[in-house]
């Protein structure tokens, strides 16, 4: 794999620029993280950051709402804006020559948004409907509710807000959130594709360099939901969500944790797919994934199954999660490594995945890992190391949430 050159530059106001030039693509992509995410939503006003991420697109600098959207369209920018927990997330990709103009528009959006009061109701109505639409998508709903029960607030809170919180938010409160949180310190801008580092430093310096620093906003913490819970829902299938503790991305044990989850759910030869779906035909969708924040991580697991077979699905799934501690076969680990190797190499074909990846690395690690470094980490894994990790962080003390017509029995010794 070719060795990448990944540049970084931190400006005097605290904004960090990361640039990964890619030779073989015509595109360029960016990922911009501004530390004004949903953890800063005032208690009882969950949804403030999500509303800000909508209103921030409705005019900025010298452009009104229509002009801003039209200009982004004419630049051919494929983009998204949304609230994450720590950050407002902005991503975009287009042909490389259009990226500088797109970035200038985003510089206006995060520093000089109009946040028009006249459009507040429209933004609120849109968000309210998105939250209601989640109620109609049980597969999405179960995982949002599972996170509320396995992480303490504000980490467990849905970053898209809640219907209850939304009622208490006003246009002025959204503006206050922006004024309090949107700041250059901690902001990370990752750019990847057919770009030149020196030119990007100049451009970003001009566009973001005069952004004034602010003091660090505070956020309040709270508790988590019930470890064993059920939500009544009149549906054909029962949704099952299971969580247990693991490690975050910055942990030295991260790659071992990743492999342990890979044995369970990385590819169709993995254990959950084989045991729950292939051998027993209990469900169509079953998976486990490693999820985390800067200082904590969980394994989140999902299965959806018809109501009559839900109990068996839960029992078999829990048994498979616990069984990893009994041993891992060498070929299981080898398959995880093979999958990782091909995804790492394929990442080099996508400016968007590289932009997202370098930005995420900087946030979690304060540095960027090259693809070769990741590959060496993965190749150095042994069954012994993965099992040591599993023994230190066994699958137990589960959070179990079900959504369907009736609750299931969660074995006492497991939860």
């Amino acid at each position: 794999m070719t060795e990448q050159t990944i540049h970084h530059h931190t400006f005097a106001n605290g904004l960090t620029l990361l640039v990964e030039p890619m030779q073989d693509v015509q595109s360029a992509a960016f990922s911009l993280l501004v530390a004004a995410g949903s953890i800063f939503d005032p208690p009882g006003e969950e949804g403030t950051a999500a509303l800000l991420s909508d209103l921030i697109t409705r005019g900025a600098g010298e452009r009104d709402s229509v002009q801003l959207m039209t200009d982004l369209d004419n630049l051919g920018l494929q983009h998204s804006e949304g609230a994450g927990h720590n950050y407002l997330n902005f991503t975009g990709a287009t042909v490389a020559e259009n990226l500088p103009d797109a970035l200038r528009i985003y510089a206006d959006m995060v520093q000089r948004p109009h946040l028009p009061e006249g459009e507040f109701d429209a933004a609120r109505l849109g968000l309210e409907q998105s939250l209601r639409a989640i109620e109609d998508e049980p597969r999405q709903k179960i995982m949002i509710e599972l996170r509320r029960r396995c992480y303490a607030a504000p980490w467990g809170f849905p970053n898209e807000g809640t219907l209850a919180g939304l009622k208490n938010i006003t246009a002025k409160k959204v503006r206050r959130h922006f004024e309090r949180c949107s700041r250059p310190q901690g902001t990370i801008l990752g750019v990847a594709g057919k770009v030149d580092f020196a030119a990007m430093v100049d451009l970003v310096g001009q566009a973001f360099g005069s952004w004034k620093e602010k003091s660090e906003p505070e956020f309040s913490t709270g508790s988590r939901g019930l470890a064993c819970d059920h939500i009544n829902h009149d549906s054909t299938q029962t949704q099952i969500g299971i969580a247990y503790d693991s490690v975050p991305y910055c942990d030295p044990d991260y790659y071992a944790a990743w492999a342990a989850v890979g044995v369970l759910s990385g590819g169709m030869s993995s254990r959950l797919f084989t045991e729950v779906r292939e051998k027993r035909g209990l469900c169509y969708a079953v998976y486990a994934t490693l999820h985390g924040f800067k200082d904590q991580g969980r394994v989140l697991c999902y299965a959806g199954t018809t109501n009559e077979r839900a109990q068996e699905t839960l029992d078999v799934t829990l048994r498979e999660l616990a069984r990893v501690a009994d041993g891992i076969e060498e070929p299981e680990l080898e398959r995880c490594k093979a999958r990782a190797k091909s995804s790492l190499i394929m990442q080099q074909e996508s400016s968007s995945s590289r932009a997202t990846s370098i930005t995420r690395d900087w946030y979690h690690l304060g540095r960027v890992t090259t693809l070769n470094e990741v590959r060496r980490e993965i190749e150095s894994l042994t069954v012994g190391r993965v099992l040591d990790h599993v023994h230190r962080h066994p699958a137990r003390d589960f959070t179990v949430l079900t959504l369907g017509p009736k609750p299931l029995e969660v074995p006492r010794d497991l939860s």
Binding site: V66, Q129, S235, S269, T305, S342
Partner: protein
């Protein structure tokens, strides 16, 4: 990029687009069969068979299939639509031989009774899963209503009843009739050697039975109308609308793609400014689907039950205005800029190229470079859009809705 194609003696078509500057390769077997080629007695068999292909052959047990794909680090899957069943894998170039061997082998599946009965449970679970998703329910009902009496009105998944009644013998017969070499295209995109791929195709597919499968392509005559499916447990009202549009063989399809971006793209479109931006809806979009011999505009709205009628009126007002006055030069330019960039971004990865490479070939026996697509796009004028609208006006010919409402 270099394009090559060859037809093997048994009729299997092999096509390849080489891009030496990418790191991976995508391979896909496009079988020209889907829900529209079924009969009532075997409704859902194409999709069920797609699952059964992964249950192995005499050489590969079900576990072997998944294991070997994972051993080579493949990103692989399959999909079944109205017209095509696709089996694909993206891998690093060094794994082309194993991947080609496995993909080709599983296309002649053992279809063992025991595996069939087990996988039937998974299919019934999949039907259950979609039944809980209102957007899926509304789409399926709309297709059935819009294409009533036409092969495109058939369900891809089938029903609980049709899947329960289906036998392994019926599936074997369907496979025997439809998975003939002349009905299959192997498409390869990315970093590979053409001669190697041809040799692998000869070795692994050369003994497949020859033959082609005619497809009935009757014209569609949508009777139109409205279907309301009441679900009081639903929070939002989900509504879809359909109207006739150009077919996969009609040159007006390029204008149709651009028109739907102008009218109903996710951002910056007429529908965006009239419905999404003011908060009247959660989602509202208009798209275009081309099929063999026919096509359709498809609009989708998700909104509160109370606002639904007003939103239907807002959509109709947009359709009426566009049908009467066409689109502006500014709108056309903006849509071209958006679509050009999308084409370039999508084409950077072999998996992104595979879909259009295979589809162009099976729908039209045609190869188009990215540059061909961009040139066609740039050449379109407001007069082309006018010609399209005269032949295929926008409208809500057929509608279906799922949600709390009992009428609309």
């Amino acid at each position: 990029m270099i394009f090559r194609e060859i037809r093997l003696d048994n009729g299997l078509q092999v096509i390849g687009e080489q891009s030496p500057h990418v790191y991976s390769v995508a391979l896909g077997f496009f079988v020209r069969t889907g829900a529209r080629d079924e009969t009532d007695a075997v409704s859902g068999v194409s999709h069920f068979l797609e699952h059964m292909v992964f249950k192995g052959t005499d050489r590969h047990s079900p576990e072997d299939v998944n294991r070997v794909f994972d051993e080579v680090g493949a990103k692989y899957n399959a999909s079944t639509g109205e017209e095509t069943t696709l089996f694909y894998a993206a891998v690093l170039p060094e794994y082309i031989p194993q991947t080609c061997d496995l993909l080709a082998d599983i296309l002649r599946p053992a279809l063992r009774d025991e595996d069939f009965n087990m996988e039937k449970k998974v299919i019934l679970e999949e039907i259950g899963m979609y039944d809980d998703q209102p957007t899926f329910v509304v789409f399926e009902r709309l297709m059935q209503k819009h294409f009533a009496g036409h092969p495109l009105g058939r369900s891809i998944l089938g029903s609980n009843a049709s899947i329960t009644a289906l036998t392994a013998e019926q599936m074997r017969a369907y496979h025997r009739d439809r998975y003939l070499a002349g009905n299959i295209t192997l498409a390869v995109a990315g970093n590979f050697e053409w001669n190697d791929v041809v040799e692998l195709a000869r070795k692994h597919c050369g003994d497949w039975p020859s033959g082609e499968c005619p497809r009935a392509m009757p014209p569609a005559h949508p009777p139109g109308g409205l279907e309301v499916i009441t679900r009081t447990t639903s929070q939002q009202q989900h509504l879809m609308q359909m109207a006739p549009a150009p077919s996969a063989q009609n040159p007006l399809r390029y204008a149709a793609e651009l028109l739907t971006v102008i009218v109903g793209d996710e951002t910056g479109s007429r529908i965006f400014w009239e419905l999404v931006d003011p908060g009247h809806v959660e989602t509202a979009e208009l798209g275009f689907n081309e099929f063999d011999g026919t096509g359709s505009y498809l609009a989708h709205i998700s909104c509160t039950p109370e606002e639904t009628s007003a939103n239907v009126r807002r959509m109709q007002a947009i359709y009426d205005d566009i049908n009467a006055h066409g689109v502006t030069e500014e709108e056309l330019t903006q849509a071209k800029n958006k679509v050009s960039s999308r084409i370039v971004l999508r084409s950077e990865r072999p998996m992104g190229r595979l879909a259009s490479l295979g589809h162009n070939w099976i729908a039209r026996r045609e190869y188009r470079t990215v540059e061909n697509d961009l040139t066609t796009l740039r050449s379109l004028t407001t007069a082309d859009i006018r010609r399209l609208l005269d032949a295929y006006p926008l409208g809500a010919v057929t509608q279906a809705t799922v949600g709390p409402l009992t009428s609309l």
